[in-house]
Structure formats: C-alpha cells, structure tokens
C-alpha cells in the first residue's frame, strides 16, 4: 500500500514509529498526482515546491519530538479560502488573478496544526453548482468513472481524496456541496452546524447557509479534521461561542438503544432503486448494532429546493455585488464610463450559472416581489427547521440517502438548470435548518459507482453524528474499494 493511500491516523502512527517522514508522504502524494491528475483535474493549482518545503520543516519538528495534530500531513484546500500570497480564484474568471493579503481562519488553524498544503482544488464557480462543471478552469472528473461528474460544488476536494491525491481536504457546503460530492466519490464528508467553524476568509456565497467542513477517507480522520478547524472566532460574528469537545472521544463507542429516524419523505419516486436498496441496508446495519429504527416525518421536505433556490440566490446577488472591477478582480477595458465598466466587467467575469443566480436573486428581492418570494421562502424555512426540531424529539439521528442517484454523466444536466438543482433535494434541508450532516460510503452500484448514506443530528451534535457514523462504518457489511483507473 502506498503512503498516499493511507489515512491521517495511520500516517500519524507511521510518523511516530519512524516508518516514514513527511517528505516521503508528500513525495508519494505528488507521484500519485503526476500519474492521475491529467485524467481527473481535481486541482486548479498545485503547491508542489511549497509542500516539499513545508514537509522538510515538519520533519525537523518531528525530529524534535514536536508533533501536533496534523504535522506533516498533506491536505488540499478548496479554492474558496483566502490563502496569503497564493491565488484564490473561487473557480471564476473574475478572481483569476486575485491573491489574498491574509489567510482564512481555517487555513491559519491548519497551518498551526502542522498541515502541509498540496494545492487549491477545483470547484463550481463561486460554489454554485452540483457537478464542478461551472468552473472557469474546466471540469473535474469522477475518479470512479471519468465520464461522470464528481459532484459539486467541492468536486475537486472530493475527487482528490478519492484518488489519493491528498490525505484529506476541505470544502464548503451551502446546499450539499460537501456531502453530495463525498457520496458520489465514495469518501466521508461532513457539514458541521452553522456557526461551528469560522468562515473568516471564506469567499461568501449565501451567508445564512455557508459552512466549512472536511473530506476524509474515514470517520476517524473526519473527527481529527473537525478538531483542527472547529471553534469560535472573534473575527467571524456568526461563529458561535460553544465549547469544542475532542471529537475523537466519540469514536468506537456503541450505539445500542439509539433511535434512528427514517423520514418517509426522503424515499420518494425518482430515487434510484440501487441507491435506495443500499441506504436501507445501512439502516439494517444500524439495527444490527442495537439501534432502533423509528419512522419520522419531515412534512415540508417537498419545499426545500424551492426555498433554497430563492434564499441562496438572493444572498448571492447581494454578496457578489462586491465584484465591480474596482477594488480587486477582473476589470473589462471596454467600459467608457463607470456604469458600463461595472456591467462589462461583471458580464465578462462571471459564468452563466453565476449570472443566472444573480438574476434570480435580484428578481426575488426587487420591488413588488419581495413578499411573494423571499419573505414566503423565509417563512417556509422556519417550518422546515421546526420539522427537524420535532423529529429530534423522537430520535437521536436521522438516516437518509445523500443523493437521489449515483454520479451522473458529464453534460447530462448542464442544459437544464432546474434538473441540476433537483439533484440537491436531500442535502439542502440541512443547511436551511443549520444542523450538521455527514455522508458516509454505504456500498457500490452494480456498475461500480459509490453510494453514500447521510446521517443528520441536532445543532452542535457533531459528536453524536461521529459516534453513529463511526459505529456504522465499523459494522458496515461491504468491502471498501478504491477507484481503479
């Protein structure tokens, strides 16, 4: 087994035992990148020289016995976090040459934990998409089938972990952008509670929904990564001052007597039969571990996509007003006066999906339509949150499919935005309610595509989620595979 195929916790043991250095691990990761990146295109930018430099620093620390939680571990970053001195593009032409003058809080925290950055990963432009097809820098392919999408918007981060082009990575999740690609690429992906992780230095998409979280090869690594990034940040006023436990303490415990809610609204017509079978099998595994399956109802589930595609574009249209060709980013040379310069810079700098969402957002917030769309959607959002509050009175965790289908083909949904939006149907509600959710691999289709089961818990119950996910992972009855290409 190559070093790049290992998990964080395995590599920590190998480093402690003197079996390999950080430089060995980084070299293994870049050998894999050199072999497969041309096929997968998970990265917008590689940080090869920087990574080897950081690795030799890490090796120096290791020799001194100074080993922190991620010392010497190669981590990939979605290209949506500001990184001092390194370009941050957000997958957009408008930020193609943007070099942030500061680090995002989570980047600083990972550096402090000793992580080595391998590069910045590809994503849908401004995180708007479910397939990583809207990036200005080209499409990322699913390592399990190069004709298929890896999911999105954090598709590059998911594909990089699945193809062992990093050990773990970070993404952001506004409506499923971590959990959906994690499921479609066969890795673990966590969206923490809104407010659990600081978003200072995260390029904003929809501020009442955005949250940062990890992609990892297993649940233990997920706990290690969450330990490194969680916590209140005085520079981020929506981060919540709630104590952060050591999430590893929840691993390896049993789930006997736990109540697992199965919402009937998530097993609807249109769900792929193989996905449904594998997800129901996951519930059986939980039952076999001593958990009790209980039916729950989330009656407003059918409105989630409509609510989301009003609220998220509304917030995006406001957040993206900052790209005006003045302070940073692309400026068109065509504009003769200020207004024309704004219009041309934005029209040339943004791609079609971003423009579509700015248009939806501007329309639903415009005079005469606010009550009918934005206010109505915000009211239904309150109902969706109430559904979850009520469901968690009768169960510990909720179990659902992460996606209605396995990875779809490249180009299959690009012509029909609404069909693309409907692929987020099972992940959106989590963001609207602000609760945490995790996608964990639960098997493979006959064609060999990975499928992910999703577990949800109440606000700030990441510990519970990881305890359940770790018990499920240990008890799951399928053999883990690696993409073969």
């Amino acid at each position: 087994m190559e070093l790049c195929e290992r998990t964080i916790h395995e590599l920590q043991q190998i480093i402690r035992d003197g079996g390999a250095s950080s430089t060995d691990i980084v070299a293994s990761v870049f050998r894999r990148i050199d072999a497969v990146e041309k096929n997968v295109h998970a990265y917008i930018m590689l940080l090869r020289e920087e990574a080897f430099r950081e690795a030799s620093k890490a090796d120096e620390e290791i020799r001194k016995g100074n080993i922190r939680s991620l010392t010497g571990i190669p981590i990939a970053l979605k290209d949506i976090y500001c990184t001092q001195g390194i370009p941050t593009t957000c997958g957009s032409r408008i930020l193609q040459n943007f070099v942030a003058p500061y680090d995002a809080t989570i980047v600083r925290k990972l550096r402090e934990a000793g992580a080595v950055f391998t590069g910045k990963t590809n994503m849908d432009e401004f995180a708007m998409g479910s397939s990583t097809e809207t990036s200005w820098f080209g499409v990322t392919k699913n390592p399990w089938d190069l004709d298929r999408i890896p999911g999105g918007s954090s598709g590059g981060s998911a594909a990089a972990v699945a193809a062992d082009m990093c050990i773990a990575s970070l993404g952001s999740d506004t409506g499923g952008s971590i959990r959906q690609p994690a499921a479609l690429c066969g890795v673990v992906g966590l969206k923490p509670t809104y407010g659990r992780v600081s978003r200072f230095g995260l390029v904003a998409f929809a501020s009442s929904l955005d949250q940062i979280g990890p992609f990892t090869k297993d649940v233990e690594d997920c706990a290690i990564m969450l330990n490194a990034i969680a916590g209140y940040d005085p520079r981020e006023s929506t981060s919540v001052p709630v104590d952060v436990p050591d999430y590893r303490q929840f691993l390896g415990r049993d789930i006997r007597g736990w109540k697992v809610g199965i919402p009937k609204e998530y097993f609807i017509e249109g769900i792929d039969p193989e996905v449904e079978t594998l997800v129901r099998q996951a519930a059986k595994v939980a039952e076999g571990l001593g958990a009790e399956i209980v039916p729950v109802s989330l009656p407003h589930t059918q409105y989630c996509v409509a609510v989301y595609y009003i609220i998220a574009p509304a917030e995006a249209s406001s957040n993206l007003a900052r790209y005006d060709g003045v302070k940073y980013g692309y400026r068109s040379t065509e504009g003769r006066d200020l207004l024309e310069m704004y219009k041309k810079s934005r029209s040339e700098g943004f791609g079609a999906e971003v423009k579509r969402r700015i248009m939806i957002g501007t329309y639903v917030l415009s005079a005469g339509y606010y009550d009918a769309y934005y206010k109505k959607a915000s009211q239904v959002r309150a109902l969706i949150r109430r559904d979850f509050d009520e469901a968690f009175q009768t169960c510990d965790v909720i179990l659902t499919p992460t996606t209605p289908t396995p990875a779809f083909r490249i180009g299959e949904k690009t012509g029909d935005p609404l069909q693309m939006y409907l692929s987020d149907v099972f992940t959106i509600s989590t963001n609207l309610a602000g609760i945490p959710g995790i996608a964990v691999p639960c098997g493979y289709t006959a064609a060999g595509l990975p499928v992910g089961v999703q577990f949800l818990a109440g606000h700030f119950q990441e510990g519970k989620l990881l305890q359940f996910a770790s018990a499920y992972e240990a008890g799951a009855d399928f053999q883990k595979r690696r993409p073969n290409f």
Binding site: S208, Y303, V305, A306, K327, E340, A382, A433
Partner: protein, 95 residues
C-alpha cells in the same frame, strides 16, 4: 409567463449585468421555468410563521470599540486593477 424579456433586461440592469439578444431569450425561458417551480411554495400554509433569516438564533455580536491592526494601504490596493497612489481609479463618473 412569470417574467418577460423586458423584465429580464430591467433585472439585468439592476444587477449590473448585460446580455445579448440570444442570452436574454435563454435566460427568460430558464428563469420562467425556475419561477414556475417556486409557485409550489404557495401550497405551504405559513399563517403566523415568522420569517427565519438565520440558522442559529443569535443576539447581535458586539465587541469593544477598540482600534485593532488593519491591512496596510499598499496591501489593500495590491489587487486593484487600476490603483493610483492611495486610491482606486475608475472611469469617469460624471460627464
């Protein structure tokens, strides 16, 4: 029709975007599909529901009004397409 080509042109102006004829037609048709789908929300009974604007109910986040170190001007201007001295330069605003 939920939205006409003229309205699309108006919204584009509000959003400081511009589209050619072909794009305007495509956007009009796609926005219509999307807005029709949104009609679904009218089926939901929201009588007496307060609009939810934040996932976690929070009080306003106040801090002491103390001056903290901020970005030096040179760094703040380092990404500007057309900086001049300590300023951002733009095309002319008034004739």
């Amino acid at each position: 029709m939920k939205i006409t080509k003229d309205e699309v042109a108006h919204v584009a102006h509000l959003a400081r975007l511009e589209f050619d004829v072909e794009e305007t037609e495509k956007f009009t048709s796609q926005l219509n599909d999307i807005l029709l789908y949104m009609e679904k929300l009218n089926e939901a009974d929201t009588t007496g529901m307060e609009p939810m604007t934040h996932a976690i109910a929070q009080k306003n986040a106040f801090r002491e009004d103390a001056v903290l170190p901020s970005l030096p001007i040179r760094e703040a201007l380092s990404n500007a397409p057309d900086p001049k001295g300590e300023f951002f330069r733009v095309p002319k605003v008034i004739e």
